[in-house]
Point group: C2
């Protein structure tokens, strides 16, 4: 689906490490132009690596194509990078005097209305603001690695930032698919890192005391409470554990445990050479057979697959993905009814391939099913229509596979209405791989498959066939007459039941 020429938005990324690179990818793949400054002579190579990871995973999160990527420009100075940016993301090393210096430089050159988000995990906005001329443009905007996939970002504005600016910051973050969480008060390490520190300290003791290895600790987390926490947090999980009596009951039952000596509460382990060696040896035994790049790809594929699973449930981070899909859909141009209708435009996601290394055959029908859904929506058989008690059910489908598709490929479906009178709906879909050469230049599309579908309008109450609403019928008649002028597929296979 083609996005109408939108106003280009521009961000500046100052500091191009793993975090800065993640920000770059998020902005770029959501259609922003991005200027980058990093004095490291290796910066370009490092950014390209993060960007490659993001390009193979981020588009997989969505069921709608992302806008065309923005342009990245490597700049020689901070001033050049920020001069025409509306958002500046600062991700330089965690030294306060360095942050003060860089932010002062930024503020001298940036447009007056620009905002600066600092990726700091260690400093409070009051500390950042104390060393810059205009603290009213400074917010802590603390993301989590990988920044291009994980949605949450902690937002802690300096006390002098206006509510208007805060709202603008949140809207900017939402526009690139993130979930901004504004903290009520500033605090050392914000919120998430307080938990991570507490867990980290406990983990160091467990390894030091030979209770468990790094592998065993990771397993107890990822096979147990980790998977629980991917969808409900601490309090909702415990609310359930308390049963119908609720949270107060849970607190009465488990509160006293806090007094037990269950954590190494009073002490911090000394991270001496022996403990460092022990941890890194165990970590090598656990993960050393894979390179960091390989681990990153595995992690990203896992995250994408799980977040897509939550999308199916419309829950937690999956809901954030749906909201971004909706946002992307709103930017799609209306169809030209005289031609086959563009009903699907998306990337083949990572979790759609099978042991043969290509898109699984069932996903072809998945695409045609989505195409039919979109077609139905366009003729007025939308979510509200379904909620009111009617829908179309597929009675018969015929698929011809012509070429293979692979994860990461952009595909689109063009849908032709063969017949749409009475209770019947007869559709013919063509699935194309959108040829996209280097730099996003369009090349000739490649036909991957065709799908013929025969649907029947039903009452969701009786589960039997029924007549569509007058509005839907009229809409279908109109398209039917327009599509009658299109060439029809050679042989039809559906609609004659034996």
């Amino acid at each position: 689906m083609t996005h109408p020429a939108a106003v280009r938005r521009r961000a500046a990324v100052i500091g191009g490490g793993v975090i800065g690179g993640g920000w770059l990818a998020r902005f770029l793949l959501n259609g922003w132009d991005v200027n980058v400054f990093d004095p490291d002579p290796e910066a370009e190579r490092k950014l390209a690596e993060v960007l490659a990871n993001a390009r193979r995973s981020l588009p997989s999160l969505y069921d709608v194509a992302l806008p065309a990527s923005g342009k990245m420009r490597l700049c020689r100075t901070v001033e050049e990078a920020v001069a025409d940016a509306e958002w500046i993301q600062e991700s330089v090393p965690e030294r306060l005097e360095l942050k003060h210096r860089v932010m002062t430089q930024i503020q001298a050159a940036m447009p007056p209305s620009a905002l600066i988000g600092s990726s700091t995990s260690g400093f409070k906005p009051s500390e950042l603001g104390a060393g810059v001329p205009r603290p009213e443009s400074v917010l802590v905007v603390h993301p989590f690695n990988p920044v291009y996939l994980l949605p949450v970002v902690e937002v802690v504005p300096h006390a002098s930032v206006t509510e208007t600016s805060i709202a603008r910051a949140q809207e900017t973050l939402r526009s690139i698919g993130m979930m901004p969480l504004r903290l009520r008060r500033e605090i050392d390490a914000h919120v998430a890192d307080r938990f991570l520190e507490a867990v980290w300290r406990e983990a160091l003791w467990l390894v030091k005391d030979d209770i468990a290895t790094t592998q065993e600790i990771d397993d107890v987390i990822r096979f147990g409470f980790g998977i629980r926490w991917a969808q409900m947090g601490l309090f909702e999980t415990y609310r359930i554990a308390g049963g119908e009596a609720g949270m107060a009951h849970f607190l009465a039952q488990f509160g006293p445990c806090l007094k037990w000596p269950w954590t190494k509460l009073m002490d911090v382990p000394d991270l001496d050479d022996a403990l460092v060696k022990k941890i890194s040896d165990q970590s090598d035994a656990q993960s050393g057979m894979r390179s960091i790049r390989e681990l990153e790809r595995i992690r990203d594929d896992n995250l994408v697959s799980m977040m897509r699973a939550l999308k199916g449930r419309n829950w937690a981070s999956g809901r954030t993905l749906r909201e971004h899909d909706d946002r992307l859909r709103r930017e799609v141009a209306p169809p030209d009814w005289s031609q086959p209708i563009l009903t699907v435009a998306r990337t083949v996601p990572i979790d759609w391939t099978d042991y043969n290394g290509h898109m699984n055959e069932a996903k072809y029908l998945d695409l045609f099913s989505s195409a039919a859904d979109r077609f139905m929506e366009l003729v007025g058989c939308d979510a509200a229509y379904v909620a009111a008690g009617s829908s179309y059910f597929t009675a018969e489908s015929h698929l011809q596979h012509i070429a293979e598709a692979h994860a990461g490929e952009r595909v689109r479906v063009l849908t032709q209405l063969l017949a749409g009178s009475g209770k019947k709906l007869h559709l013919f879909h063509r699935l194309f791989a959108e040829g996209e050469g280097a730099g996003g230049a369009a090349t000739e599309a490649r036909l991957l498959a065709t799908g013929e579908q025969f649907l029947i309008h039903v009452s969701l109450e009786t589960r039997r066939s029924s007549v569509p609403s007058a509005a839907v019928q009229e809409r279908l008649r109109d398209i039917e007459s327009k599509h009658a002028a299109l060439p029809r597929p050679g042989r039809l296979h559906c609609g004659q039941r034996d």
Copy 2:
């Protein structure tokens, strides 16, 4: 797929709360008979509720049907419950003298070789063993809620338990789909709860100090590190953050943070009435619009969907699911080649339904695709054959939808070979809902759909058609001649390309 009459295994569950009920469900749905003892007059109702949750979610984890459920027997005494059990799971309230009394009772009546797993989170095996006559049968076997879905279980044997008994305990837990994690040494609260306590204490401070609400804390967890921890734990995640320089580099970079005042290290918040009210009010605002049962179902659906997503990646808890599938498949009887082949027998999982409330149309093709995979495997085109460079690709499919299927229904596919000579493979699948009345009694099967598939043998190197191995060809010829005697479908739709 019918499981050959296996020796019935029997467990006893002592204590029938949320945890005991979860154990009951795991054993029962994996084909064990289970005796239950709980003095609570409400026990039967409570167990039925946990069991209902488990029945709707646990079978969704697998791509193979679970064995027929075992029988549950509510017993009047501990002695009656344990008399013929090989495994006794103790989940009574966390009071040491009560555990000693109940375990002593159990040991007096259980078979001499039986093992006792204690679900305790608060006591060490040495403490449990100190008050019973035969500590050599006592192990801490600490699960996580919901026990019927989360795979991990911490195993901490009493010092006197033999290695043979420990191995038997681990094998028993694996046989019901769990992932036993044996700790190296006993420690207060074992491993996972040490982390949970540390996080819990930190969370109480954040709420008390008005930094974040329960909802905000849950969000920062589930939109951020929670989803990361569902697939890699603490150390593997940080290893990646350290980059190619590895774990020692990460420790050098982030170790010092431990000295910063980032956690409320030295203090435990007083859980007074004001804090209890604050937390339960915030929790009500966050989750009070849903009942606990509703939250449980949402949680279970989320967990099932995410674990299935990880199964697609063959990673973490998803790998545990695959191993259990393999275990279940090994128990399937070999096919009768003179009849249509039973190629799929499974439950429609929770994540396969769509907005119309029934199994999504693409999943019909998914089932037929799995049926074709299984058929190929049976004729020798298995994983090793594919790894050696050949496979069958589907060229054409035709589906007729006859009736709806719903999540939780048991379905099976019978596959008929229409033609299998040369490079071509022509299959006809019939999808049935296995009629299953109350108590698991089989009733008449219901035809849901038919699927005709036309496949071509290909070289995975050239991606072009090729001739199957002699062994595969011979196997196909043999089945073709046997299936020639079966009635053929009325009208065929595939194999004549236009």
